[in-house]
Symmetry: C2
Subunit: 339 residues, 2 copies
């Protein structure tokens, strides 16, 4: 399996995230990447991606959003704020909202969630993460059976034009779009992160050429709370091409596998020519953000089941916050896949 | 002029607000009330309001929102969070959003802005603030020429079903509704706080019986950023009964007065039988949140002009954060009014 990683991803290191009414050490840290990098070294040396350019980003993101990400820090710093760029305000009704010119207002306009900070190097790191996903997609498009994009910051929460949930650019969506642009008529995305991939859903919600299936903690009880319900099935041409499997607290692996097999059925019937897996190992039972009962051996089995699609597959790293087991857990899924 | 104040308002004292990417001492503090109370003592002893009951609140707020405010702290504390209740997540699209059952999701569902915390005593203080406004409205409805409701936490940002901007219940809207319920066929609200009264606008946006006029810092450059533009003129039956006067940075008093006279024209033509003034003295040139050039003597002149409506008038305290001058500035407006 090809592995891709860009060291510039480490540059994103906010001082804090907003959690439980306090500013705490971010769950999503640069050290996560290094833990995973160490644990997957048996798969081969990680390749550094090339720069795919800004144009690649606007294949799935709004140009004004990408411009905002690039300009945010300078405008924020110019106001003399003491902390990283974090938003308090957000539009009560985004569809009718003005995009204000003041950076505090712009920041909220382009955010859907307020815990995640933008620093002087966030855009650089997010682009490195996006390039990593694009390089993995390119390798698979060029004939590799599979590739692992070791991405952080993660991406699946990032919407067409809003960042949040530790995500600034949607790496999995970029990989899927790149597969489409390389000739795959239909691409499926399977999101197994503990949290619903609201950003990926948002990006492909109106489209029939990219199928999105997400298995996750019920948003009634888990972040991102407002999207990820089973009745969200796509819109317009995309109707029937979005499938959510929200699962309740204390879900055991057998119940998780039932959802997986239902998603697998959708993917098989869809006739996908390539698969992108949003790989979050925060489903692990000891993860601080999980409420599933999924053990380390279960993760190996998940990898094994994904291999049964027998499709060109791009794994894109998403969440996972049980630091001591993080690298090993990622390796379990990938080793289960490679067999 | 009758003055009303409830000491229970002091109970709302969050540890911090989110500002500039940091948790800082809240601008909106209990000490604000005491500074104002001292400065207006020449108007007479402040009366404590009676409790108008929960029913009064749901005249302008959604019942599930009021229930949320009451239940929030207990649910938050039960999760073991270390800080006051502060939201990070908010619905990307509120009109189609589920209200999740987990308190983190509920908190964001009922918030439009994330800087403002809810503590164990916030609801009690907000109710005391609301009762203060209702008592002032009652006094005027019963024949007093004018009354000053010394309210804090303030109210004008609080929407029909969302808190934020230091506001948890909309005191001015409650006062206007109470005047309507006491027999005034038409009530005007004049909001002169530096920030747009987005909550009051939201509550009366579809109604022709309550006119809303707001003079404020251009939301393109100032909080609340996403509402307060001049093209927001009301909807349905309320079309033509909402008038915003956004003013640019460095607005001098002469330009402010032009907007005031335009608003006054709307109020006169409307034929209001009673006036509610959302009194924010954060328009003062040395206020940390202001970008207007309005001096202390100008505030006296504003009070004098408001008196020229010759209408039963309820002043409801909103913002003002230049602590050393806060009490004196409020007294300037009220003394200008009483003459």
């Amino acid at each position: 399996m090809r592995v891709f990683f860009d060291p510039a991803q480490r540059l994103h290191a906010p001082v804090a995230e907003l959690y439980g009414g306090q500013l705490i050490d971010p769950f999503e840290s640069p050290q996560r990447a290094d833990r995973i990098l160490d644990a997957v070294s048996h798969l081969g040396t990680a390749s550094e991606p090339r720069d795919f350019g800004r144009e690649a980003l606007t294949r799935v993101h709004a140009p004004d959003f990408v411009a905002f990400l690039e300009e945010c820090w300078e405008a924020w710093a110019a106001e003399g704020f003491a902390g990283d760029a974090m938003t308090a305000a957000m539009p009560p009704d985004r569809r009718e909202a003005h995009c204000p010119s003041h950076i505090e207002g712009r920041l909220g306009y382009f955010a859907f969630s307020g815990e995640s900070a933008i620093t002087s190097t966030t855009f650089k790191a997010a682009r490195a993460s996006a390039n990593t996903a694009l390089a993995a997609a390119e390798a698979v498009a060029q004939g590799a059976k599979s590739a692992f994009a070791l991405c952080r910051p993660p991406g699946h929460h990032c919407m067409h034009a809003q960042f949040g949930g530790y995500c600034y650019l949607n790496n999995a969506a970029l990989a899927a779009q790149a597969m489409r642009d390389s000739g795959a008529a239909q691409v499926a995305i399977l999101d197994i992160d503990f949290h619903h991939g609201n950003g990926t859903q948002d990006i492909f919600y109106d489209r029939a050429d990219v199928l999105f299936c997400s298995i996750h903690g019920d948003p009634d009880r888990a972040y991102p709370f407002y999207l990820g319900y089973s009745e969200e099935v796509g819109r317009g041409a995309g109707h029937g091409f979005n499938h959510n499997f929200p699962l309740p607290e204390a879900t055991a692996f057998a119940a998780w596998l039932e959802a997986f097999e239902a998603a697998a059925g959708h993917i098989s019937r869809f006739g996908a020519e390539a698969l992108v897996v949003s790989l979050g190992v925060d489903i692990y039972e000891s993860d601080p953000q999980s409420f599933f009962r999924i053990s380390a051996p279960n993760l190996f089995e998940i990898g094994r089941r994904i291999a049964q699609f027998s499709m060109p597959t791009v794994f894109v790293m998403e969440g996972g916050y049980a630091n001591d087991e993080l690298g090993a857990n990622v390796a379990r899924v990938l080793t289960g896949f490679t067999g």
